[in-house]
């Protein structure tokens, strides 16, 4: 080995303690980056093969009387259309144990030749023989079914009937069934007819030749096509080429990536400060090497290699961790998207990024102290005079502060590093707390246990009767309900609804204005009053109607019929699709459905989910004896799960990153304390010759570390507030279209404070031991 590399190797050996701190910090940060980036790469790759692989329709045109052969032929011949298929989607219910769960029955015209929103047979028959259905695999457990079990289903006609499960499919175009709390099934028109429903196919699904990239482009294409075809009742245009959960997933991964990136930056600062300390001790050696002919570039090269080799090892450690992490995280996320991972291989560029980021970023930061060290003039480096300290202390400062201020630059870096780590840690915790808080809002603003939706309005008198006769039912409040859209003058209604009917949907709800079953916070204006032709939009609906102000007229298309309502106010409704609230009386008279309603909201006397479930079953049973057609029965507990589950895993990943950041911060502190003790070993030795005991030395070191920790805590608090606010806004807007509630998380602050105190004491332990054990002679030499 060349002598100069022997020197680097020797330094690596003799500084192994601090270099280990560097190594851990960089490796952990890199592993975090690799995990997030890898997941992102794997998931985006598999979005292409999964979601896009289903050839999702760019628009669904609904025809009231069904899609005729003639319309289909014309659509297929249309210049703008590349593919067109007919399909039907029937919302029904399936019996699971004693309960009914929502069922979506997808009915393609022909399984063998469908080209849009395709799904893949996994097992069993293809196409399903008459009288049987295929099940989407993510709903198996929800439906409590296996191959060839019999399902008891109720379709809109209300008559219970039985179908057999003849096969399994995977439909990556749909969010997983367990998450949406809906069972997905697939059947032929023939089966539908056997189940007593009309086999008419109402939906024309298309992809356009232009392959629109934005939802607006898609809407324009769809509207133009609808105008050419005529007779379209409603247009459904989901965001093109985008899985319903994709944006959420991508935002949160981006957030995670930013946190991981910041952790690498912090680790690099740690590398730089630690290296600065090492170099400070090597000033004389640098002087000697210069005096025997070393150029600045040679010296810089030596230290760059030293840092680079640490980072290289960090990359080597981080790469397999990243692979494991990326595969684990993306597998969890992929089940959230109902994807199959096609391969666990990380794309090569992720590894490249790891190498480049892992070596370059720390080197970039390390370049600062390296530059400073190698440009010291030889004489200054060799001089017993040393490199001048700028003295900015005042005699009246406490001793700990005076000592810290001897190196203001290093103090700033240490405090900055610790503060940033702390701020990010607290932010991550606060954000995840805010996320939970937001979900609690779902519960706090809705005060009912059950929602029953009917296919056609049910008599309100029945509600009154059942409220009295069904044991455990406290209140049944009939509400108006109708699918709707924000009407555009002279144009066909367009909604952003996905084929699962849930994501992006829009509906009208007409509660009695005095209802106590919801208490949605008002964002603008006021709530409804009886007898007025007014509407209150929830924030999701309001955002769709971007330009509206309170007092404006809102044009609603209720089941295809346009009408105008004055905007009274806007409420925040977390975890909901778009809703326009109308007063029940005015709504009923405008729909001519006085005395009948399509929605019941029910309060039970049940004290827990189990008791409530019993009441719900009793009510179901009572309903089944009446001449009403139930579309869905949704226990409130299901709703909350459906909303909460969506990204819970990613929030947990954020917490994991908070731990990484905390670790990097603590390593930084440890390194700084170690440095300051080592640099002052001479001074400490002098103190000991003057009679200082170990206790005095210990107090000196600990108090110094505590002062800088305390300082960093204050800075971290100040930093974390705007950071938390910003991230909560971003996350909230992307997931709920409303900022997450701003929670000042005392828990996260307390946790960081406790962690900081423990870490500070821990960080001083080792250097103190060393300082105390050194004999006076060793310290002075």
């Amino acid at each position: 080995m060349k002598p100069r590399w022997a020197k680097v190797a020797g330094d690596l050996r003799s500084e192994r303690g601090r270099l280990l701190l560097m190594l851990v910090a960089v490796a952990v940060s890199l592993a975090a980056i690799g995990t997030v980036l890898g997941s992102w790469a794997i998931l985006t790759r598999d979005i292409a093969s999964n979601y896009l692989g289903t050839a999702p329709a760019e628009a669904t045109l609904e025809f009231e009387g069904g899609v005729s052969d003639e319309v289909l032929t014309r659509a297929r011949a249309d210049q703008a259309v590349s593919v067109a298929d007919r399909r039907e989607v029937i919302a029904g219910r399936v019996r699971v144990g004693d309960d009914f769960r929502p069922l979506l029955l997808f009915v393609p015209e022909r399984f063998e030749t469908m080209r849009l929103n395709t799904f893949r047979p996994l097992d069993g028959a293809w196409p399903p023989p008459a009288g049987t259905v295929l099940l989407e695999r993510s709903g198996l457990e929800m439906a409590n079914a296996t191959m060839s079990s019999s399902l008891r289903v109720k379709l809109p006609n209300g008559r219970p009937s039985t179908v057999t499960v003849s096969g399994l499919v995977h439909d990556p175009g749909l969010a997983p069934a367990w998450q949406e709390r809906t069972v997905y099934a697939y059947a032929t028109p023939e089966t539908v007819a056997m189940l007593g429903e009309s086999p008419t196919l109402h939906e024309l699904r298309v992809q356009f030749a232009s392959h629109p990239r934005t939802v607006v482009e898609a809407e324009n294409e769809a509207s133009a096509l609808a105008a050419r075809l005529g007779g379209v009742h409603q247009l459904r245009v989901p965001p093109p080429r985008q899985h319903p959960h994709q944006r959420q997933m991508e935002t949160i991964l981006l957030l995670l990536l930013i946190f991981a990136g910041l952790s690498l930056v912090l680790s690099s600062v740690l590398v730089a400060t630690t290296l600065a300390a090492i170099l400070a001790r090597q000033v004389r050696e640098i002087g000697v090497m210069k005096s025997i002919g070393a150029t600045r570039a040679q010296l810089a090269g030596m230290y760059a290699v030293m840092v680079g080799s640490i980072c290289g090892v960090a990359v080597l450690l981080a790469a397999p961790l990243s692979m494991l992490g990326a595969f684990g995280l993306s597998r969890v996320v992929s089940t959230m998207l109902n994807f199959d991972l096609t391969s666990r291989a990380l794309p090569w560029w992720v590894l490249l990024v790891l190498v480049v980021a892992g070596v370059l970023v720390p080197l970039l930061f390390a370049a600062i102290p390296i530059r400073r060290a190698v440009t010291i003039p030889v004489r200054a480096a060799l001089d017993t005079w040393g490199v001048g300290e700028r003295i900015i202390v005042r005699p009246w400062f406490p001793v700990a502060v005076r000592n810290l201020l001897r190196r203001p630059g290093r103090l700033a870096l240490t405090v900055g590093l610790l503060a940033t780590a702390g701020a990010l840690f607290m932010t991550a915790l606060a954000v995840s707390r805010a996320w939970e808080r937001n979900l609690e809002k779902v519960k706090e603003t809705r005060h009912y246990d059950l929602e029953v939706r009917f296919n056609t309005p049910a008599p309100d008198a029945l509600a009154t009767t059942l409220q009295q006769t069904v044991e455990g039912v406290r209140l049944i409040e009939p509400w108006g309900f109708e699918p709707a859209a924000l009407a555009r003058p002279g144009a066909i209604d367009v909604v952003r609804t996905y084929p699962d009917r849930g994501h992006g949907s829009f509906s009208v709800l007409a509660p009695p204005p005095s209802t106590t079953l919801i208490s949605l916070p008002l964002l603008q204006g006021r709530w409804l009053a009886s007898g007025e032709r007014a509407v209150v939009l929830n924030h999701v609906a309001f955002l769709q109607a971007r330009t509206l102000k309170v007092g404006d007229d809102v044009a609603l298309s209720i089941d295809g019929v346009p009408s105008t309502w004055k905007l009274a106010g806007v409420v925040e409704e977390v975890g909901s699709a778009g809703v326009a609230y109308l007063p029940s009386d005015v709504f009923a008279s405008s729909q001519s459905t006085q005395g009948r309603s399509r929605l019941w909201r029910v309060v039970t006397a049940g004290r827990d989910d189990l008791e409530r479930a019993t009441v719900i079953r009793r009510l179901e049973e009572a309903l089944s004896r009446e001449a009403v057609s139930v579309e869905t029965v949704t226990p409130f507990a299901e709703l909350k799960t459906a909303i909460g589950d969506h990204v819970a895993v990613l929030i947990r990943a954020l917490l994991a990153l908070a731990m990484v950041l905390a670790l990097v911060g603590v390593l930084g502190l440890t390194s700084a304390v170690g440095t300051s003790v080592i640099e002052r070993s001479r001074e400490i030795a002098v103190m000991k010759t003057l009679g200082a005991t170990s206790a005095v030395v210990r107090r000196l070191v600990v108090s110094e570390a505590l002062v800088s920790s305390a300082l960093s805590f204050v800075v971290a608090l100040v930093l974390s507030l705007p950071l938390t606010l910003g991230i909560e806004r971003l996350l909230g807007m992307l997931s709920f279209l409303a900022p997450l509630p701003f929670v000042v998380s005392w828990v996260s602050m307390g946790l960081w404070f406790a962690l900081l105190v423990v870490a500070t004491l821990g960080a001083t332990l080792l250097p103190i031991r060393r300082a105390v054990q050194l004999t006076v002679r060793e310290g002075l030499s």
Binding site: K2, P3, R4, A6, K7, A9, G10, D11, R13, S14, R284, E285, V288, M289, K290, S291, I292, G293, A294, T295, R296, A297, Q298, T375, P377, V378, R379, L382
Partner: protein, 235 residues
């Protein structure tokens, strides 16, 4: 050492004109070297003497290119030392000046042999087995060949200083500068080191040595006496 004696070097002429070195410090400016002009012959053993603080170290540092003068010009051989930039100076030093310090200044993480090989590595004058062979020859010359593969801390002060001299000779520099090389050594070892330096001067090198030794005049070819940064009258 044969190749050294057959290959005797003609030391270089050193010429200082009106050289000053002023240090700025919080306590005010200190003129460590004050308008010194002198010419030193090549191949001589020269002693620099004077009281502590008289500017000896500063003067030899200037000549060795370890420091820059605030005015005047310094020429060593055909090189205008004060004109070189930092890296050119480092290169020039590496090949033309061997430096020996009072506190030896061996790199603690390198073996003695590696310390001697380091200047060859940095200046690209020898590498690999060739460098090691040369290093061992030099260590032989200074009499500590058996210590080659030890770390400096395992050596006595005199041995360390001899290793430092071997390192100073690594690139066969015509000028050797030693700042109180015996200041940290006992009487007996000092004598050994001085003899070694003298023998090196005999081989044609210019050896410039700062010293406190009292009877130095008897041992060196020429004495420069400094008084408050100026050339004083020989006493």
């Amino acid at each position: 050492m044969d190749n050294m004696s057959t290959n005797e070097r003609q030391g270089q002429l050193i010429e200082l004109r009106d050289v000053s070195r002023v240090f700025e410090s919080p306590a005010g400016a200190v003129t460590a070297v004050d308008r010194v002009s002198l010419e030193l012959p090549a191949g001589a053993f020269i002693g620099v003497v004077g009281r502590s603080g008289s500017g000896k170290s500063t003067l030899v540092n200037l000549i060795a290119g370890l420091d820059r003068c605030t005015r005047g010009s310094i020429r060593v051989g055909d090189v205008a030392v004060d004109q070189l930039d930092e890296d050119a100076l480092a290169r020039w030093r590496g090949r033309n000046v061997g430096v020996v310090f009072q506190f030896f200044q061996l790199l603690p993480t390198l073996t003695v042999a590696e310390n001697v090989m380091l200047p060859m590595d940095l200046c690209g004058t020898a590498r690999g087995a060739e460098a090691r062979r040369r290093a061992l020859e030099l260590l032989d010359l200074v009499g500590i060949r058996e210590q080659a593969d030890k770390l400096p801390t395992a050596l006595s002060g005199g041995q360390q200083q001899r290793a430092a001299i071997a390192r100073a000779l690594a690139n066969d520099a015509p000028l050797l500068v030693a700042d109180e090389p015996t200041g940290n050594l006992d009487q007996q070892t000092s004598t050994m080191v001085l003899d070694l330096l003298r023998s090196l001067a005999k081989q044609g090198r210019t050896v410039l040595m700062v010293t406190h030794e009292h009877d130095v005049e008897r041992r060196v070819d020429q004495v420069i006496r400094l008084v408050d940064g100026r050339i004083g009258s020989p006493s």
